[in-house]
């Protein structure tokens, strides 16, 4: 007495079509569960790709140096005296160029100041740096040229402005070659940044870039905010990092008072954090799958009591308890599978819409999420219909048939 698979499936589909509202309800529940897993993980994955992509666009083989030590170095005379760390100076920067493995460096100073032209003015982030910054950051010029290749100490009154600043100050007028006032100094515009230059922390389009020495004078500091060091190759990164630490320690009277991080380390950290986030979001979405499973259980229980007479009849016709269980489970599995695939399609559609709406966010659902959603949906569908199926199998046929 073994049922034929084709018969079971035909019978189950028949009974699903016999109760369309129930079927649709369960399909929707499953579909929503799977769909939310797909969409949410695609958002998480999109955020991860976006952030790591942005970091990569900051520059490659990059080592970032900033003053102050982020690790506790234990008790020494300086901590007792509460001395602030030594400045990171332009001389420090220049000393790093000695290494064969260092391709180029760019010192960075940041501040904000009023930028004005013919009565129009606005407060702008001022970036003090050097010629090398353009290459390190992979930025592109819109018009004119970048800061000239000159000695770092030279406070030339030239400025490169972002395209948004240009539009706000000059409108349709020609900006290149004009003199603008930054703080209490006058600078001549020699270049305008391209619209592509955008990266974490700094929106180049809303920035004005001047030589680092000018910025130091303007903000009255001899220290640097950051020092970007580009290694010759990926393999040289660690060597350069060690070299930077040693050189600066030597120059700072043996104090390890700078923090050196590599682009890779930052990237890896963000990658890990956001990867975990994607898992977490996927896990939260999976709860909706469990909810769908409970709904399936309820609806299958209703289905069993709705069809008491039919199940009783099947028993009278010689269906064994096992056969009844197989029939009910098959029904639930067909529903779960259909719902899961519908949800998968909806989810893909959803992430397509996200990608369309936010083109910067590469919201592609990771393959593991789709597979996991499908598998979890099928398993919950199966597990949660076991109980209703059992109940159907144990139904007393006499009672079932006498109900009218």
């Amino acid at each position: 007495m073994t049922l034929h698979g084709a018969d079971v499936i035909r019978f189950s589909i028949g009974s699903l079509r016999g109760f369309p509202s129930r079927t649709v309800l369960m399909l929707v529940a499953m579909a929503i569960g799977v769909c939310s897993v797909v969409v949410l993980t695609s958002l998480g994955e999109g955020a991860r790709r976006y952030v790591t992509g942005e970091f990569a666009s900051l520059g490659t083989n990059l080592i970032i140096v900033f003053p102050g030590r982020s690790e506790t170095a234990g008790i020494n005379p300086t901590t007792m005296m509460g001395e602030t760390p030594r400045d990171l100076t332009l001389d420090d920067a220049r000393s790093l160029l000695r290494s064969y493995n260092v391709l180029r460096i760019a010192p960075i100073n940041v501040g904000s100041a009023d930028v004005s032209w013919k009565g129009r003015s606005r407060d702008v982030v001022i970036l003090g740096s050097s010629h090398e910054l353009l290459g390190i950051r992979h930025w592109e010029m819109g018009q004119g040229r970048f800061l000239p290749q000159a000695d770092l100490d030279l406070a030339t009154p030239v400025a490169v402005i972002g395209s948004k600043i240009r539009n706000e100050l000059f409108g349709a007028k020609r900006a290149l070659g004009e003199w603008i006032r930054i703080g209490d100094r006058r600078f001549r515009i020699i270049g305008i940044m391209g619209s592509e230059g955008r990266s974490i922390g700094v929106d180049v389009q809303e920035t004005v870039i001047i030589p680092v020495a000018s910025a130091q004078q303007m903000f009255n500091t001899s220290s640097l905010f950051r020092l970007l060091v580009e290694a010759k190759s990926r393999d040289a990164i660690e060597t350069v990092k060690a070299f930077v630490i040693d050189t600066l320690q030597e120059r700072h009277q043996g104090e390890k008072d700078v923090t050196v991080i590599t682009q890779d380390a930052v990237l890896e950290t963000f990658d890990r954090i956001l990867g975990t986030l994607t898992y977490a979001v996927g896990g939260i979405a999976a709860i909706s799958l469990a909810v769908a499973g409970i709904l399936i259980m309820n609806v299958m229980l209703v289905a069993v009591s709705q069809r008491t007479a039919e199940i009783g009849l099947l028993k009278a016709l010689g269906a064994s308890p096992r056969q009844i269980i197989i029939l009910i489970l098959t029904e639930a599995m067909i529903l779960s599978a259909l719902g899961a695939f519908t949800g998968l399609l909806l989810g893909q559609l959803g992430s397509l819409i996200v990608r369309h709406t936010f083109p910067v966010l590469p919201a592609y659902a990771p393959a593991w999420a789709s597979v996991a959603a499908l598998v979890v949906a099928l398993i919950t569908g199966l597990l949660f219909s076991l109980m209703p199926a059992r109940r159907a199998a144990q139904l007393d046929p006499v009672l079932a048939l006498s109900r009218r």
């Binding site: 007495m1 073994t2 049922l3 034929h4 084709a6 018969d7 019978f11 028949g14 009974s15 079509r17 016999g18 007479a309 039919e310 009783g312 009849l313 099947l314 028993k315 009278a316 016709l317 010689g318 269906a319 064994s320 308890p321 096992r322 056969q323 046929p397 006499v398 048939l401 006498s402 009218r404």
Partner: protein
């Protein structure tokens, strides 16, 4: 063929025990035509359900073709129901979403027969009950008499030895009821053991052997007659 020995069937209703069947002993030979009559609550339906293995006795022995079927497991009992016994119900109990042919096919499908073995048997069963032109109709498109004929086709498609009918004419008008009774009797003429439960004396009288039940007992010790 059917042997019931000292069958009891008790139900617990609240803290009261109801003796639906009280020490019933009954022999029915192959090919007999038996009617079971009695007022409602006399235990006639319980007896029929027990004969059809839909219910278990509280005590006593039930032998079908010499085999003790009360001690069989679920699966074996289901097989016996499928092969040996056909049911005809007062409410027809056709599955509304299936066509007449599909309803008739169900017992064969549950038996695990191949489609090519099933289809000729279904066609023959429908033909014998003059339902061939109705085979693709849904139950709701059939009259009461036709529905009961579909149910009879379903009960006989597995060629059972015993046909159990529980008030088979209860939901039919007089004419259709007569037709159904004639069909059942014709099947009996061809050798099937027919057991009809009814409270209609006119139908009950037609049987060669008439059993009367009262308070869970067979009246006058007719069981072994």
């Amino acid at each position: 063929m059917i042997e019931l020995v000292n069958i009891h069937r008790n139900f617990q209703v609240g803290d009261q025990t109801v003796h639906a069947l009280d020490d019933v002993t009954l022999n029915i030979d192959a090919g007999e035509y038996v009617s079971i009559m009695g007022p409602s609550g006399s235990g006639k339906s319980t007896l029929l359900n027990l004969l059809g293995l839909l219910d278990q006795p509280s005590s006593g022995t039930y032998r079908l073709n010499g085999q003790d079927v009360t001690s069989l497991g679920n699966l074996r009992q289901a097989q016996v129901r499928n092969r040996e016994i056909g049911f005809v119900f007062q409410m027809f109990h056709l599955i509304p979403r299936l066509t007449a042919a599909e309803n008739v096919e169900l017992p064969l499908l549950l038996a695990g027969l191949e489609p090519e073995q099933r289809h000729p048997r279904v066609a023959r069963a429908l033909d014998e009950l003059h339902l061939t032109d109705r085979s693709h109709h849904k139950p709701e498109q059939l009259s009461g008499g036709q529905r009961q004929r579909v149910a009879i086709a379903r009960a006989t498609v597995t060629k059972p030895n015993v046909l159990l009918a529980d008030e088979p004419t209860g939901n039919l008008d007089h004419k259709s009821g007569q037709d159904v009774i004639h069909i059942l009797e014709e099947l009996n003429d061809r050798g099937i053991t027919l057991i009809v439960v009814t409270h209609d004396p006119e139908i009950g009288r037609r049987a060669q052997r008439q059993l009367h039940m009262m308070d869970g007992r067979l009246v006058d010790g007719q069981g072994t007659g």
